[in-house]
Symmetry: D4
Subunit: 216 residues, 8 copies
């Protein structure tokens, strides 16, 4: 077969393999999705999915859902109760960063976490962020999605006393070089210990935040 689905992952890492759709045919995606669906009782995720990918999956797995903003196909069937007192806060610098934020947030929710969003609090008007200091203080883990110069990650990293996960986004133009400017900024953050993800990698941020949020 074309894929060696990693069935031990659901046991080894508490969550089944997540399908990365880019570069796969509709049929490959649908077959892997069904395969994963049949081998565990957990939620299933396919990331970077198009509507067309979804239609192919739907034929084999009728309970599959699609979140267009997050570009995620998923099945939600795990009823493990979620700890409401520990939430992951997902911040964005601008409105254009929302899709990445939603990829992160939905991933974390499907891994049994409570998620709160706070969009458009970038540093060009920093009072917007300071006004939500309460959220920063109450959150258990924070994800910051920001493009352009990505400065929000450093400011949040300096305010918070909890893990901050920075996701550079490809929002910007010219010398942003497809997200490189935000990526470099976040890697060089003067706030100590900010965790950096690949450009636009909301999925990875959601997964890391979930692992941290489940620590006891």
């Amino acid at each position: 077969g074309f894929a060696k689905v990693d069935h031990s992952r659901a046991n080894r890492q508490d969550f089944p393999e997540v399908i990365y759709c880019a570069g796969k045919t509709n049929q490959q995606i649908a077959e892997i999705f069904l395969n994963l669906f049949n081998h565990s009782q957990k939620n299933i995720i396919a990331s970077r999915a198009t509507k067309e990918n979804y239609e192919a999956v739907l034929k084999l797995v009728p309970t599959a859902l699609y979140d267009e903003a997050a570009r995620i196909i998923y099945v939600q069937r795990d009823n493990t109760p979620v700890d409401d007192k520990r939430f992951i806060l997902v911040l964005t610098a601008g409105t254009s960063d929302i899709p990445v934020a939603k990829e992160a947030g939905l991933t974390a929710q499907l891994m049994n976490n409570k998620v709160e969003y706070c969009f458009d609090v970038g540093v060009a008007g920093i009072h917007r962020l300071l006004a939500r200091k309460d959220l920063i203080d109450k959150a258990n883990v924070i994800i910051v999605a920001a493009g352009m110069e990505g400065a929000l990650a450093s400011v949040v990293g300096g305010l918070a006393n909890k893990p901050v996960i920075a996701v550079p986004t490809s929002v910007g133009y010219g010398a942003s070089f497809g997200g490189l400017s935000a990526l470099l900024a976040m890697l060089n953050s003067c706030a100590a210990g900010v965790a950096v993800m690949n450009i636009d990698n909301g999925f990875g941020a959601g997964r890391l935040a979930s692992m941290i949020n489940h620590m006891r």
Copy 2:
């Protein structure tokens, strides 16, 4: 004065500001160190420090110590008991990555964490890593320091069910471009949710690992 020491940091983030020595004069470093030493009862850290920096500090703060491998000047006086059951595991791919690993490990220790090291378990001889699967399973958080192609981070990220923090090192030559090859590899890890640090940023890794390790 030349510095606005961030005295609220010890309260805001549970640990005083850490001095980044590169680009500062001996005198600046010593004065800031003393200032921090006098304003809290916590441990004090100055990173990227030379022996010369240390001698200047020693004149003002006689209890200061120096770890040459980690390039850290520090004062250890915080006696808060450390939770021995939760340790941070620091892995390196090769022997040349040890200095970065020690910067990470000592930082975490000074922030009241138990640290275990396991050096030289890179993927060119993967049985060395697989032989220490027990350590990976017992650790609470894992830091991976690797240069060259940085593949160790992905392999560990695929084996572990806990947060993995990847620190690319500048070990290598030619097309490693001072650590860029390992950095890009870690950012693109196929293992989901690996947290990436700046090249050679052991300090950041130690700080993040400590924050995660203290979560309850």
Copy 3:
């Protein structure tokens, strides 16, 4: 004429010139293909070919075939017996790397080699690779196609005692920079002596593997 077909190549290097289709018109491709077809009795290959290219070739060379996944137009007419005991093993890290793997594999087959494939054995679930250690041990030459961080090449290079040819693929996004991350990782492999190809250059990998596989 527009092309100086290198007719001595079939003698000089045991295989006729291979047409690189990108940047050529349908007519140029078809005429060069016919020209090569008429000047030797060997198999003929045109790489990076579209379906449209194929239709143009088909009009002049009715026995031409097309492999869509491998993007190769070819004529298979060389009946030299293939040595079944020496096979080239083509591994991929993920499902999305399959097209590059097939370009490599078909090239090697058309140069009279036995080829075995093993897809989707990337390091995020390394047990999948270790489970096929037998294939690695039996193969005569190994080709590894991997995108993202390309770590599979280093792990295979460390396990195998035979030439390993690494082909970085453009699978990935963000800081993979179109395959650059995998390319740099492979060039910096800590496993000694891995041969690196250009990004997505399955053709070159197949050709090199064939040359090595025919050594006696």
Copy 4:
């Protein structure tokens, strides 16, 4: 001769040509300095100067002074009264950025501007900046020197209602790539209209700030 000193510049642009010392011999610097000194009554500046350069100049121009931190050799003899109500504010993110800030500040002072400094107010502890909101409000033009991720420029650009000039510094390591991370961040600032200078170009910032500060 080796230099065509631009003597019309003092008239054309209100200030004589400034000598860029890097790559010039001691003798070349001294002769150009003397030449400029003799052709106008204005202040004279040589930037990027070493102590050795200064000693050579001193032999020909005994009234020359040297500011080691700013790496500037200068003659101060212009007594035009300075407008004390309009000052240029020079901010730095950290202590290590001070040399660049001083190159900017001294340049502006020698061009007849009042300059105020405020060091070490980077975003890792943003209260330090907010505490000096009064200075930001009173300044006529603001220069921000910051390395690492250069986020301070965006935060100040969002707070201030006056021209902000951002100078990325080469402070940092690893993926800061000698100031590139801060440069890209500043070019992509979400705060509209931030003026960006070359890495470590305090001189240019001082000159631009002076031109703006003299507008009526």
Copy 5:
């Protein structure tokens, strides 16, 4: 809601937040535009806007206008008298740079400035620029938009005794790397104190020019 419109910006910085349309949906743009339109009496700007974006805005704000060359949606209702004696001069090196120049010019006009244009005066025929020395002398602030090697900024910077704002454009091919060649050239200008903007960032140039032009 999806956006935290920065309503204090009109007071804080004399002009309302400007909407960056790229990456936003038609509906998001229209709603933010209406929101900004309702919260102040100032002119409103949305940059990087397509015709489609405009149609969506028009439904909610019937007085909105669209400048296709400048890619700006705007409302012009602020009748504050403009100081006709102080104008901003916008120069371009070639005809292909005009769109960026118009983004700059229209931005400045909507911020209550008089703007003059002078297109196609690049250095390949430098007499064209020298012939307009009068304009350079009369202007209060100068914006230079140039692609390819961006040399015009340096020549103007050497001729003018007033702030020069350089906007590299993405005009060019091959080793211009989408505007990088012009950007680097402008950052390294031998003319002292040239202010540099991001590639194609006419908006930022217009905003900075306006701030400087309003100084008294």
Copy 6:
């Protein structure tokens, strides 16, 4: 108007301004073309032109011609006799480099030079080049257009005793980075004194070759 056509260029540099079509509207191109056509008796060239551009020009200048391969719109009316004994030789490494070669060749022809072509003599089969040593010896100036690794320029530069102009082309994929590999190779040629042009800049090569070919 939108353009300041450089009418003195035909006198100053023996040939009128050449229109660079990319980034200009059809109408702009047509008007500038007509303008140039009316102001001299020389040949007229518009480069990087699409068929659509041509149709617009044709309406205003009915004698205009279009060479699709070279992407050039031109008027040929200069009857100055061409020196047949001095020809410019245009070589390509492969068939895919022909468009760039034709841009160079047609440019030189329109500037009154005799041009000879020799395509597809790349170094993978170096006998093809050596077989045309006679052409290399007879030519007065040589242009080499090559993509991929651009090695042909160095080999020709080592064989010829006359100016060699190297044009890197964007032919290739992966780590050719749109022509960068060939560009760097040509800049670093071990054959002394090779003149390098921008990627795909056939026009510049033709113009330089023409200037050299007309020297007496």
Copy 7:
């Protein structure tokens, strides 16, 4: 201990682990060398070694030798007879590439291969290479070390009917970017199937050539 020497490597891959000296202390190198020396009867290699490293090794392993040009410390004690009919040919473009060639050659010799050298046959004078066509025809595997534009690899790859291993060297300046120009050229070679190594990686080339040369 600081190192987990991979003792199974001598069995797994027919040759013990090779010590990469850069970034290790003298004592670490000496101890690992002794450890390897004691655990097998094979030859031992430490690469990238300084004279100082050698002196430290010599104290623990008195039979160790040092090749200064190749920067290799080694012990030669394996008396397995070498197959004299199969030799590896090591070519260089210039005299400055010799150190890398010797690192490759000595590595291959210590792995029981016959090695022939042919220096300074770069393409600026291609007759030098053509004059040694006999060597190319007789060799079993070819290594090409070249800096600057690295064109030699493509020319040899086009002439030879056997595996060609290309090692870019850091010989060059300016836009050679420390070997990047040669590296890119080799990756984009128009000669099919050239195996590429990291910049200056003579060791890897020697190891790969040895593996291929031992195939039967």
Copy 8:
């Protein structure tokens, strides 16, 4: 031996091989120099030479001279009369570019050309260049050495009606990236047909200028 001196080059290309000293030992340089000295009656050049290199050469070739600014060791013994009416003009933007200019000029002189210099006429004070329009008009070929933004090449290219050879220099700092900014600027020159050399490659410029200057 270590070098295959290309003795046919003096005949093939009218001038003997030029020794590139970087990366060669003193002894290698001296022996190659002597070898070249003995095999022809032409002038001999060794470029990128240190004083130490010179001393080694002097022992074997007592008539050798050394130009420290140009970093060239040479023997001048060719008495072919030089055509005084055709001179090569070497311009520099600043004083710091003089060493590169001298490498170019001395190379051309040793190849029997008359050379004129005009230093420090960069575009920051363009009247200095315009004042020497006579020199530009009288020269037969022009070399422009410039660092930083390299704008001088474009301005000269627009003024002159003869071949212009642009040599980017590594003069500059920060985002000049060792000469990259000037290199890119020159490759993208809006003045048609400028020939570009590698960064700091005065030698190549001198050689190309000489070839062109000798055309009849």
